[in-house]
């Protein structure tokens, strides 16, 4: 008679699909969980990473020890970690500002390149002799502005399209990365190519004045200071100003922001400008602090790693400072493996991926719990 058709889909709202496992939101994650779970996640990631390393025929403990000393073991190694941390910090902050407003700017890589391109243009062709003669303290502010302007203008494209026309910023900002990278390729192979570069793709070296001052004999440069200042300023702006409040509200709900009369389109553009400017500043610092010329492959993907940095730092400027340092350590330590143990440098990104995976998974568990029941626990009106 009644052929027992599966009618679950029809007879109830989508959210009730009979019994099964489901995630249930925890309203107030405990403080203990918020501290213990990330640590446990990292340990779990290291265990899994260790198994993979073991499978590759190495002793995981040796590998981890080598990585730790490679990243933090000596003053030199620590300084190299800080050098790597600098672009991650600045781009991570830039990404985080946009993410706080639920603007998915994943174009930090391109904005980083544009900052570097603008700085190169100014440093090679745009500095009057008098300014050069006045020394670094006159030149650096000009280059800072140039770098921020380059990144900001690049981010303004997806920003304006999103703010005023509703075009999805994720796609536009991502695609502009490729445009930016190819633009820099064209410049270093073409019009800006170093005439005495022995065929290597790159521009001429900058005149000495635009070099960022470094700390002692290390390669740690003024860019770190830019990043720390930017983090502090952002923290204050986001937490303590009207504009930061508007960003937070708009991030929570664009409709509510419009209801309150906030200029959402304008705020979207401004946030993208700030986000891009920080990535551009990262490009500026990298090129004036380390490379001193625009080279092919300037960034090993800082703008993408920035997304991980921002996310793991929970979009909090201080969290981002800590995460940028640790991730930089992972990268530097990974390179060390290649030198000391002759291992593939792919181990570092593998560990980075494993750690991210476990941290995000652990994060899910602090905010949700897995339950098994017949239907959703939410009452409906």
């Amino acid at each position: 008679m009644s052929g027992a058709p599966a009618t679950g889909r029809l007879s109830g709202p989508d959210r009730a699909r009979g019994s099964g496992w489901r995630l249930e939101r925890v309203s107030n994650p405990s403080t203990v969980a918020q501290i213990v779970v990330p640590i446990a996640s990292i340990v779990a990631a290291l265990v899994l990473g260790g198994l993979i390393i073991f499978g590759a025929g190495e002793n995981p403990l040796t590998v981890y020890r080598e990585m730790a000393t490679g990243a933090f073991g000596s003053q030199y190694q620590l300084s190299e970690t800080i050098v790597k941390m600098t672009p991650l910090l600045l781009t991570g902050l830039g990404v985080a500002v946009a993410f706080r407003m639920q603007l998915w700017n994943i174009g930090a890589e391109g904005q980083f390149y544009l900052g570097a391109i603008f700085v190169t243009g100014v440093a090679l062709f745009g500095l009057p002799g008098a300014l050069l003669a006045a020394g670094p303290w006159a030149v650096i502010p000009v280059l800072v502005l140039a770098g921020m302007l380059g990144g900001a203008l690049w981010a303004a494209i997806p920003g304006v399209l999103r703010g005023y026309l509703g075009v999805n910023e994720t796609i536009t900002s991502l695609m502009l990365n490729y445009v930016a990278i190819l633009l820099s390729e064209w410049l270093v192979h073409g019009p800006w190519k170093n005439p005495v570069g022995y065929g290597f793709p790159g521009t001429e070296f900058f005149p000495a004045a635009p070099f960022l001052p470094t700390w002692g004999t290390t390669r740690v440069h003024l860019g770190l200071f830019f990043g720390l200042i930017a983090g502090l300023v952002l923290f204050v702006v986001l937490r303590r100003t009207r504009w930061g409040y508007e960003i937070t509200v708009t991030g929570g709900s664009e409709r509510v922001a419009r209801y309150a009369g906030m200029a959402t389109a304008r705020n979207i553009v401004i946030v993208m400008l700030v986000s891009g400017a920080l990535a551009g500043l990262a490009g500026m610092a990298e090129i004036t602090g380390i490379g001193h010329s625009l080279q092919r492959g300037l960034s090993p993907g800082y703008g993408y790693t920035a997304i991980i940095v921002a996310w793991l730092g929970r979009l909090n400027p201080f969290g981002i400072i800590v995460v940028a340092f640790l991730l930089a350590g992972l990268l530097v330590g990974g390179e060390q493996l290649q030198l000391s143990l002759g291992l593939s440098s792919a181990i570092a990104p593998m560990l980075q991926g494993t750690i991210l995976f476990f941290l995000l998974g652990g994060d899910l568990l602090t905010r949700y719990r897995i339950v098994r029941r017949a239907a959703t626990p939410e009452p409906f009106a």
Binding site: P5, T7, R9, P13, G18, R242, T248, A374
Partner: protein
């Protein structure tokens, strides 16, 4: 799927009610059912029995636990404790599929239909067919038969998007009949209908009961319950108050059971009306037109005036321009033509913040999503209007001390129940969210209040408190535009009631003289002038 699955409506058989009354057969029994959601007890040891051949109404205020109880019967939720019997047999329902297999089907307030499919295709969705072949013709013939037998008037070949809300509801009923449901649960089925459509639904349900179906009808409208039901069960605060025969029940008695006190106090009393004088016109709307989100005309020349100390209600079936009217007044939607005047100053299509600052408060239709941000804390939500003003704002900076003080004062004076100002808004109950929103909107003693469904989805206690607040605002001298689908609420709070139909004002009546029939006719599109003319001629 065999033909036998569809019930025989028994067109040739005499109606069962003409038989000598047999002992009623128990269709469903929910015994000692309890269900809690977190700390909220939705059902507290509820026992409810319905028989074949009866229309059994389940009434109670919003949040009384009606929907939860029926969702348990329909297999959506499992009870924490208690026993469920269907057709005399204990049933452990694990899903809505289990329920329909045992003959229980539920029509929800929100229909589960796919707009771009035909009626037949919607009915066939999810049915276990034989292989890949769809026997559309057979199903269609069966549906046509059902439609004729119950006077549903549905063409099985029609697309859902072509059908009115009332017709879509009948499709839902038809689908359950096709699947062999003998126990039909309808969750506030008339909420979306005009009074005339509701009457025809009631006729259908009566017919089904006479043929042996068990019809359970959830409602909070007393008049329609008395018209449709054989027996009535009243729920309050998750518990059964009583089950009574409709024939011997009175409106007053039911109201008292539902609310827990006399309903008369809800109406604006004579004193309140006479001793209170309304003032000058504060809000004047002249020949306003505006488009909806699909750029179709939503308001087509609306003119209204609201005086200081007056509450003007806007009645109407959802989607007749109410939302757009509120949005145009508050600056969230541009007017195409016409004007909105505040104290004789033109504020048409001004910036929302400028309008708010000029003294227009807005209690929007969707609390979370328009008026409040669920993911932020109470403080952030509390200062949404005041964050640019001293003392909360000092230049570009915000004073956290002033924010805390302001938030605490709103929480205190409107009795918002919360663990504190840093609690996340979403963790508050609907009623407390709404109280915070209203507290914020009324903090500046606005001249005009635009309130849209201010008590929708709010528990009884909060709903009472909100009504008290709106009454106090009226006495203070605020001009209030109250948009609501709940006629009871409009009658309880308003001086005058205007009815909006397809973006036009059908008529305005004094709440004291308003009767349900006139309002119903206007809600269905008859103008007040026409009604008067017809009555004059009669």
């Amino acid at each position: 799927m065999s033909e036998a699955r569809a019930p025989s409506p028994g067109g040739n058989e005499p109606a069962r009610s003409s038989d000598p009354m047999p002992a009623p057969a128990e269709a469903v029994a929910l015994v000692d059912i309890s269900k809690r959601f977190g700390s909220v007890v939705a059902n507290d040891r509820v026992t409810f029995v319905a028989y074949s051949g009866e229309v059994h109404a389940l009434i109670g205020e919003n949040g009384a636990g009606k929907s939860t109880l029926m969702s348990i019967l329909a297999g959506m939720y499992r009870p924490d404790s208690g026993v469920l019997r269907i057709g005399g047999k204990v049933a452990d329902l694990r899903s809505p599929a289990d329920a329909i297999e045992r003959g229980v089907g539920m029509v929800y307030q929100h229909f589960m239909l796919i707009e771009s499919f035909t009626v037949t295709e919607n009915v066939m969705l999810g049915l276990a067919g034989e292989g890949f072949r769809l026997d559309t013709a057979h199903v269609e013939a069966e549906l046509r038969r059902l439609s004729d037998a119950y006077g549903l008037g549905i063409d099985p070949g029609a697309y859902i998007w072509q059908l009115s809300v009332g017709e879509q509801q009948r499709v839902e009923i038809m689908r359950l009949l096709y699947r062999g449901a003998r126990i039909l649960v309808l969750d506030e089925p008339t909420a979306v209908l005009t009074p005339q459509e509701a009457d025809s639904l009631i006729a259908t349900l009566r017919q089904m009961a006479s043929e042996g179906f068990c019809v359970i009808f959830i409602s909070h409208k007393l008049d329609e319950v008395l018209a449709v039901a054989d027996r009535i069960t009243v729920l309050r605060h998750g518990a059964v108050i009583d089950t009574v025969d409709a024939a011997s029940a009175s409106r007053q008695e039911l109201a008292r059971m539902m609310v827990g006190r006399d309903l008369a106090s809800a109406l604006l009393d004579e004193d309140e009306l006479t001793s209170h004088r309304t003032g000058d016109v504060v809000l004047a709307i002249n020949a306003l037109t505006a488009a909806n989100d699909k750029r179709l005309p939503a308001l087509q020349g609306v003119s209204l005036e609201v005086r200081a100390g007056e509450t003007l209600g806007i009645a109407g079936v959802a989607g007749n321009g109410q939302r757009e009217l509120a949005e145009v007044i508050t600056g969230l939607r541009p007017a195409r033509s016409g004007s909105v005047m505040l104290d004789w100053r033109d504020i048409t299509s001004e910036h929302p913040r400028a309008i708010a600052r000029a003294g227009v408060a807005h209690i929007p239709e969707d609390r979370i999503g328009t008026g409040l941000v669920g993911s932020l804390d109470l403080s952030s939500n509390a200062v949404l209007r005041a964050y640019r003003q001293r003392p909360i704002s000092k230049g570009p900076f915000l004073s956290s001390r002033a924010i805390a003080r302001f938030t605490d004062s709103l929480i205190g004076s409107y009795d918002v129940k919360t663990s504190g100002r840093s609690a996340r808004l979403r963790d508050l109950s609907g009623g407390n969210q709404q109280k915070l929103l209203i507290a914020r909107e009324l903090a500046g003693e606005p001249k005009v209040i635009v309130a849209v469904h201010p008590t929708r989805g709010v528990d009884v206690g909060a709903s009472e408190a909100i009504h008290d607040v709106l009454r106090a605002q009226r006495l203070r001298g605020a001009a209030t535009l109250l948009i609501s689908e709940d006629l009871g609420e409009l009658l309880a709070l308003c001086d005058r009631i205007a009815v909006l139909y397809e973006g036009r004002v059908m008529g305005i009546v004094a709440a004291r003289d308003a009767d349900a029939e006139t309002l119903g006719l206007m809600m269905a599109g008859t103008s007040a002038g026409h009604i008067a003319a017809v009555r004059g001629a009669a």
